[in-house]
Symmetry: C2
Subunit: 289 residues, 2 copies
């Protein structure tokens, strides 16, 4: 170590790691040191730039709370959260996408066909489809967690004006693997940009917008759990999601409809639909465990 | 962006950076994204591991204060701080080393030959040498900031039992480029290991010790400023500094002496030296600006 140089420091770091260290931790640290050291060497990072980086981290700590975690946001806008999703995504099922910070446990159980619109305003949409195996067989008893923003771009939990669990639900698929609910269209929204991450976005000419989306967690016995989002094909931010969550296979269409007669009879809102509404069809494919 | 994959996300990230972004910032972000993305891809980082990493950052924010910055410590134990020093170190002068968190501005001006021992206990040492150009010419009027731990391994500012500015001084070299002072031997000490960084050290079987050292900042008109540390060649932690600060050229010797008669006459403590003391000779070479 007394001869540590910029070329030997990575090995010196690795030499410090004890032989009985957990092998996976050792491997991760080896890769981390390799890449962070190369980053400093390749940029010849100055002391001022290093200090600026540390200020971003320190400032992220200052602004973070359990409800607003600036480090998650930093990971999001750097594409790291999305990349972790992608490297862990099953190749043969529906792709996963970012969980985001707005999921809340304990949403009410509702039956297939339930109405989530309640007192919400916005375009009425009927969202449904099936949960399938990779062979195309329907999965009965698959569980879905569903959450989305109201028309103002805010989630219940974030927005005191919304009732608890507004636009959140837990549903179990029927014998045909079906899920179905009526809701309003969610809205695009911005990630928080009043902290160090916002500073970084502004310095690089990036906007903080995410395209509108529906969140789903889909689980079924014997299958890999799926955390994902579904995006409308006409959203203006589809090609420039601030957190890199969009995948081609996660894009759906809000199909304009006026005739409700063809909708399933277990759709609670069916008889109340009067005039224009939208229909979204989306099937989820779960990979085997 | 709607076709983002694990192979295209790095380019997608770069495409987001606006054309009129500061070119250096753009270059740094390009390298950062490249290395962080490769890190995730090469490790196939799991969601649990990603969350653990975010916990380390969040926990570092929680424990950090302006006086105890866990992010600096994280940078230190990963070898990043030291590497930043090395990539910015002048090739033809004395190597730089980590500044550390214990530097305080405003240390008292003292003349060449001053005594810093005061009421401190420990091995008396006489430390001196010259500040030189890369051609070996002495630099008159070079300024040195000097700080070190007391015998208990703590710095004044950290340790309420020590007087303000204890073992801290500001000195200006004489016409021969000389600096000289008497002090006590500093002690090895541990970096704080009661936070997330300590957890990481423990998980990898690393200890938190730094070898004892004297800190110097040396500045002179027309020359690059030097922030460095000087380490005794008999320190038990010399080969395993927790923060990678040791450089071969920064190692000095505590030479045991009993005869003070050969010491310079401007050494304030000279006539009081009675019995064993140590002598340290160390010259600083400043690179031209």
């Amino acid at each position: 170590m007394r001869t540590v140089t910029k070329d030997t420091i990575t090995q010196s770091f690795l030499d410090y790691v004890a032989d009985d260290t957990d092998p996976r931790l050792k491997f991760i640290l080896e890769k981390l040191a390799h890449h962070l050291h190369d980053f400093v060497r390749e940029t010849a990072l100055t002391h001022d730039e290093w200090r600026k980086g540390l200020e971003i981290l320190y400032g992220s700590g200052e602004i973070s709370t359990p409800e607003r975690n600036e480090f998650v946001l930093l990971s999001d806008v750097l594409g790291l959260s999305s990349l972790v999703d992608m490297v862990n995504s099953a190749e043969d099922g529906t792709p996963s996408s970012v969980l985001g910070p707005f999921h809340i446990l304990g949403a009410p159980d509702v039956p297939v066909g339930a109405d989530l619109v309640g007192d919400n305003t916005g375009d009425i949409s009927v969202v449904g489809g099936r949960v399938l195996t990779t062979d195309g067989a329907p999965i009965e008893g698959a569980e879905l967690e569903i959450w989305q923003t109201a028309e103002n771009g805010l989630y219940s939990g974030q927005d005191e004006a919304q009732p608890e669990y507004n636009l959140r639900a837990h549903m179990t698929t029927d014998a045909d693997g079906r899920y179905l609910f009526s809701t309003v269209r969610p809205a695009p929204y911005t990630v928080p940009d009043d902290g160090p991450v916002g500073e970084l976005l502004h310095a690089t000419g990036r906007h903080p917008w995410r395209p509108s989306h529906l969140h789903f967690i889909v689980t079924a016995k014997g299958h890999r759990s799926l955390v994902t989002e579904v995006f409308p094909n006409d959203d203006p931010y589809l090609d420039e999601d601030a957190v890199f969550g969009v995948r081609e296979q996660l894009i759906m269409e809000y199909q304009e409809r006026t005739d409700a007669s063809a909708l399933p009879n277990d759709l609670a809102i069916k008889d109340k639909l009067d005039g224009k509404f939208y229909q979204v069809d989306f099937d989820f494919v779960l990979s085997s465990e």
